[in-house]
């Protein structure tokens, strides 16, 4: 892929110079020069085909991204929704306030907790299921794959409502199982200690399928010759897994880890439906905190600062993961 973009970059750069429609400047690179006349047409067509996306991108993404940044330096409040330009610049006040705001720090901690436990669990279990499905299962493979993937496609709000009832201390599924063996189930979502682990369990349940599908595709891309060679050399199952499967799955592992981490850092629906952030803020995540500050209390400048802190954290972690997991392949 890198070679094709590299090639394409050369004519593009040449053309970007003065006089885009002047053809002598275009396509000096050998074989393509024959098609000089149509280059101008493609320039025009290229931009026309790009316009709808670019307009939508500009209005609903680029401008809001910058606007969030600007808002984070203002005291943007409810009255500014109708008069946005009346908001006052207050410098870094929102940001300094954030880092002495215990509620925000707690939400930051909760989100980190969710990610640090949830991501490795999801990746590990997804990998286990993928390896199991790739080993000796041929008949019921589709059946299992569909079953493990099903939670991914379901509406998260509905699923959160279901899980709230599954974990219900008196009438829930888990409570029922506990009572069958003569135990009393704890109030999972009502306990400060158990609420977050319960939510992690649900997230793992819901997202394991995505990771599994990615790993199955990755596993199938490993040539059977490589495995057979290892077996001929006397590698046992564990050695084969460690020496061949894991290293060759590294690109998949990287991608799965990055998308799972980004998703988990933004966790919102689960606490919104299941606990409303409680008990005593033990499941309040950054996104939920931001939503409340922004749309319940209309502290929109302050909420914007939260959004940016989360964004910077997400970018930082993504870059870090790309570095960590990529360097090892060399």
């Amino acid at each position: 892929m890198s070679t094709t973009t590299g090639k394409a970059a050369q004519p593009a750069k040449v053309q970007a110079g003065p006089g885009t429609t002047v053809s002598p400047a275009a396509g000096p690179k050998g074989s393509r020069s024959r098609r000089k006349p149509s280059m101008g047409v493609q320039n025009m067509a290229g931009w026309l085909f790009s316009t709808p996306f670019l307009v939508l991108f500009l209005v609903f993404m680029a401008v809001p991204i910058i606007a969030t940044l600007v808002m984070s330096f203002t005291d943007f409040g409810l009255r500014n929704v109708t008069h946005p330009l009346d908001a006052n610049f207050i410098g870094f006040e929102n940001y300094t306030k954030l880092f002495s705001d215990e509620k925000f720090l707690k939400s930051l901690f909760n989100t980190a907790y969710f990610v640090v436990i949830g991501v490795p669990l999801t990746i590990f279990l997804g990998l286990v299921v993928a390896v199991l499905l790739n080993n000796g299962i041929d008949r019921a493979r589709t059946f299992f794959r569909v079953g493990f993937y099903a939670p991914v496609v379901t509406t998260i709000v509905a699923v959160a409502v279901v899980w709230r009832f599954v974990l219900d201390p008196s009438d829930g599924l888990v409570a029922g199982l506990f009572s069958e063996v003569g135990l009393t189930a704890p109030d999972f979502l009502g306990s400060e200690k158990l609420a977050m682990p319960s939510m992690i369990a649900m997230a793992v349940w819901r997202n394991l399928g995505t990771v599994m599908v990615l790993f199955i595709a990755g596993l199938q891309a490993i040539p059977t010759e490589v495995r057979e060679a290892a077996r001929l050399d006397g590698a046992n199952i564990w050695q084969e897994f460690k020496g061949i499967t894991v290293p060759l799955l590294r690109p998949t592992l990287l991608y799965a880890t990055v998308i799972t981490t980004i998703g988990y850092l933004n966790v919102f629906e689960e606490p919104f439906v299941m606990t409303q952030g409680g008990p005593s803020d033990s499941t309040l995540t950054v996104s939920l905190n931001m939503y409340r500050e922004g749309f319940n209390f209309f502290h929109m400048g302050y909420a914007s600062a939260m959004a940016y802190v989360l964004f910077v954290v997400i970018m930082g972690i993504t870059v870090l993961q790309l570095r960590l997991l990529k360097d090892n392949t060399k």
């Binding site: 025009m44 067509a45 939508l56 379901t154 409502v161 996104s287 970018m315």
Partner: protein, 303 residues
């Protein structure tokens, strides 16, 4: 058991593989034993995975007595539709269903058109700035949606689009994921085909609609499924962009109902009935089209 089942296992497996495994393990039974173990583990996993769905489906048809019975009643002894009736009395589900469908259809159609257009330009047209636009698309893939919520709300309020379909659709009308997916697929179309059409005097618009689009139908199917589902399941933006309950989408209506103690009246039966009605169509569509799902994810992940 091992002695009798081993030959069977060997004969089904490719001969060279079974020979190797047999040699290093000193016996042939681990292969079939392993297979049984794999099936047991997977079945156990699948049971856990499907338990919440089964619980939801069964509970939706239980009477109030059986919902709160202790010891618990697993399978309802008398199936009832009361939960659904009571829910429909309290929530105008057909309305929310229509809202969800309209928004999802509009989002899907606009993504199919706009993402394919840019995907075609990025894959098959050489023009100044192409790489910059592709960089933009890749960058947009990484930006979390929550970052834009606050100004988007202000923007939509100013435009008077709160509580409107346009307000729900426009922010999702052209997703970066769709562009990326379509570009990947369109790159595999041979250039010669397009060159030949150009030689015959076909314009780019004609080539795009009449030649390229029919060739990428599988990708369009994948994109429709993902976009429709993404919109169907979307929660945060519809929650923010609607104040009027008549404009709620299904997830917003269910979440509002479930988190308002006055409305739900503590009835888990009604909530399970509501979840059942939202989840069932999605599951049916997924099972019918499951091949597209896994292919789409794998394609997007591999590139």
């Amino acid at each position: 058991m091992s002695a009798t089942s081993a030959p069977g296992a060997v004969s089904t497996a490719p001969s060279k593989k079974s020979g190797d495994t047999g040699r290093q393990n000193g016996g042939k039974q681990p292969r079939s034993l392993k297979r049984v173990l794999v099936y047991v583990l997977l079945s156990l996993g699948l049971l856990i995975m499907s338990a919440p769905f089964l619980w939801m489906a069964l509970s939706a048809f239980k009477t109030t007595n059986e919902l709160t019975a202790s010891p618990p009643v697993w399978i309802p002894t008398e199936w009832t539709l009361d939960n659904f009736r009571n829910l429909l009395d309290k929530l105008d589900l057909p309305l929310y269903f229509m809202n969800s469908v309209i928004v999802a259809v509009l989002v899907t159609v606009s993504n199919l058109v706009f993402c394919s257009m840019l995907g075609y330009a990025l894959a098959k047209l050489r023009f100044a700035g192409r790489n910059k636009i592709f960089g933009l698309v890749l960058g947009a893939l990484m930006v979390p949606g929550n970052l834009m919520l606050l100004p988007l709300f202000v923007l939509m309020s100013k435009m008077g689009l709160i509580d409107s379909y346009a307000g729900l659709v426009l922010p999702f009308a052209a997703g970066a994921f769709g562009v990326f997916l379509m570009r990947q697929f369109m790159q595999s179309i041979p250039d010669e085909l397009l060159e030949a059409a150009r030689m015959d005097g076909a314009g780019e618009w004609y080539i795009f609609w009449r030649i390229v689009m029919p060739l990428v139908k599988p990708a369009l199917a994948t994109l429709s499924i993902f976009t429709f589902l993404g919109s169907w399941n979307n929660f945060v933006w519809p929650l923010i962009a609607t104040n009027d309950p008549d404009k709620y989408t299904l997830p917003v209506a269910l979440a509002t109902f479930a988190t308002d103690p006055n409305k739900a009246g503590g009835s888990n039966g009604m909530l399970m009935a509501g979840s059942f009605l939202i989840v069932l169509p999605v599951l049916v569509v997924f099972i019918a089209l499951q091949r597209h799902f896994t292919q789409g994810i794998a394609t997007a992940g591999m590139k």
